[in-house]
Amino acid sequence: MSKYNAKNKKKLSVVMLTFMSAAYLSCFSMSASAADPVIFSFSTIGDTRQDPGAGKADKTALLPPITGTLLPQDAQWLQNTHAWARILRTVQSQKANLLFVNGDMIMGYGRAAVPPTWSTTAPATPSDVVNSDLVNFYTQYAYWRGMVANSFETGTYVLPVAGNHEVQCNSANLTTTPVLSRSVCVTGKTAYAENEDAWRANMGDLISDLTTNQRFQSVVGTNALNVSGLNATTAPNSITDSSISTNQADLSYSFDIQTAAGLLHFVVINTDPVGFDSHAPVGWLAADLFNAKSRGAAKFFVFGHKPAFTYDYLGNGLGTGTAPPQVGIAGLDNDIAGPSGRNIFWQIIAQYNATYFCGHEHTTKIDQHVDPTNTYTSANPWQVLVGSGGSPFDPKFGVASVSSTDRYYAWATVRVHQSGNVTLDAYGFSDSFGPTQVIQTIPNLQ
């Protein structure tokens, strides 16, 4: 009997071992997501606007669908509808809960105010009115809002990030505006309070719904918590950042999303506040991230327009050289070492091992940067530059650049998994509108 039992036990252990090995192997061969399901996701992209400027579009002699070509249908509204509509469709198919658009959704670049000349000379023709900066801003916003409207219907809530084209006036751009419709702006690219007002007037409803929750929860599936930045007191101000002089409500804001994997914290910053262009509100950001961590936030995602580290897509070093041609510094690194400069900004990002998503350069670059101040050396945060939503590519057609995907219309989709692991996939399609491909995967973003 005991011999029989021993034999049976041996058989049983062989069966068990076989079963366990099979189970192990099957688990091993399962995909990561099957073992670790996605519980929340968001997509992000920037720079969907078109550009009427001479020389901005490339391959203009060719017919669409060719990148950079300003289609007749887009000339009035200055939106790259061909690329942007396709990106939106795929983001919707990916079922992202949120879509952050990192600035430059409109061409803007004027002053969204009643031209001073109208106080003495009334506009005489419809053209005088409809070509004014004020009307241009509002119609371009309206067109963009119409393009993203369907996303809400399919479960993706769109959150906007202010870019320089929304808040700045470019003096060079005024030469294309009828005299009667102009408001003069100082030489160069400068943020104006009326443009910040126009932002709130055209985008504010999307942001205020984080608290009023008329639609946010029904679209996203969960509500936003601990919302900040929706009024002048909780947004960056002269107390948090001494160089801030205007109302930053709805321009820099933050909120939490509670998930089974922990509290996620999202921060949007205006990188061109009036009087402090090309700077992040670092005082406000530091306090905001500190508060979020204090209440238990585990993952931190920061969205702004201008990159902290300009991508040198030509590979010739950053600068103004022409032989060989160099990429000019385009982001917060215009002020590297100042008290509110790039290094301090990135030190804060590194302190919380946050990920910074941005645009401005019309290309894609996703890479890591250590804390330049060497204060928080354990983190190596990612900068996710996806300014590739439809604006004319910065790497020009026919000019060699660092990566074969530099001229891809691209976006990033971030997925938070049940385990708390955060993954990122960058998707895109070529400038000749080829098939959509996965162009970069990061298995452990945070």
Binding site: S26, S29, M30, S31, A32, S33, A34, P37, V38, S41, R86, R89, T90, Q92, S93, Q94, K95, T413, R415, T423, D425, Y427, F429, F433, G434, P435, T436, Q437, V438, T441, P443
Partner: protein
């Protein structure tokens, strides 16, 4: 002796049917030995197709696609094989001749077997992978082709199929030269006749 002949014929027919199923050939096999860097997306906005040719009377028995889950796919995600004739614009997918649903189970080959897609005339066809639900899957590219390379590839990013160059994906179509139904029907008919004959001779 007659009885032996009928039995022999019946056995031959059944064996023929079995051997034909067992030796289904690949009429499309795009998978080579190594995976290159490209990774196409397969979701409700991004479809792909591969073109292949058939001779008259071939019957499709198996359809397989090489699929990865990536970071978003899960076991059970659905996708659909569509068989199109090449009568669309510029020979692209045109008439939808047949479709069958399948599900992603694990990274690698996923598909459906034991099909009996018959009535296909000689010519070029497209096998497309499409998604109608919320699946988000990925299709690795291959640096070399398999035993029966695609004649062409196409993609549809929401505005119809276009020719795709510089990227590919893994797909296999198996077929038998004659309809399996013919052999089954034939064997059934023979056995019926055989039994009828036995019955009449015994009367």
């Amino acid at each position: 002796m007659k009885k032996f002949n009928y039995l022999w014929l019946y056995m031959l027919l059944v064996m023929g049917a079995v051997s034909n199923n067992a030796h289904a050939g690949l009429v499309l096999d795009t998978v080579g030995t190594s995976v290159n860097n490209s990774m196409l997306t397969l979701d409700s906005n991004d479809f792909v197709a591969a073109e292949f040719s058939l001779v008259d009377g071939q019957v499709i028995t198996d359809l397989k696609a090489y699929i990865n889950a990536g970071n978003s796919g899960v076991a059970g995600d659905g996708f659909t094989f569509h068989l199109y004739s090449a009568d669309g614009k510029a020979g692209l997918p045109g008439t939808d001749l047949y479709s069958v649903d399948s599900t992603y189970q694990a990274d690698g080959w996923n598909g459906v077997s034991n099909l009996n897609v018959s009535g296909l005339t000689a010519g070029n066809y497209w096998l497309a992978l499409e998604v109608s639900g919320s699946s988000n899957l990925e299709l690795p590219g291959f640096s070399t082709s398999g035993s029966a390379p695609a004649l062409a590839y196409a993609f549809n990013a929401g505005s119809g199929y276009s020719i795709m160059t510089g990227a590919n994906f893994g797909v296999q179509v198996s077929s038998v030269p004659l309809p399996a139904a013919f052999w089954l029907f034939g064997s059934s008919l023979c056995s019926f006749l055989f039994s009828m004959r036995r019955k009449s001779s015994s009367l």
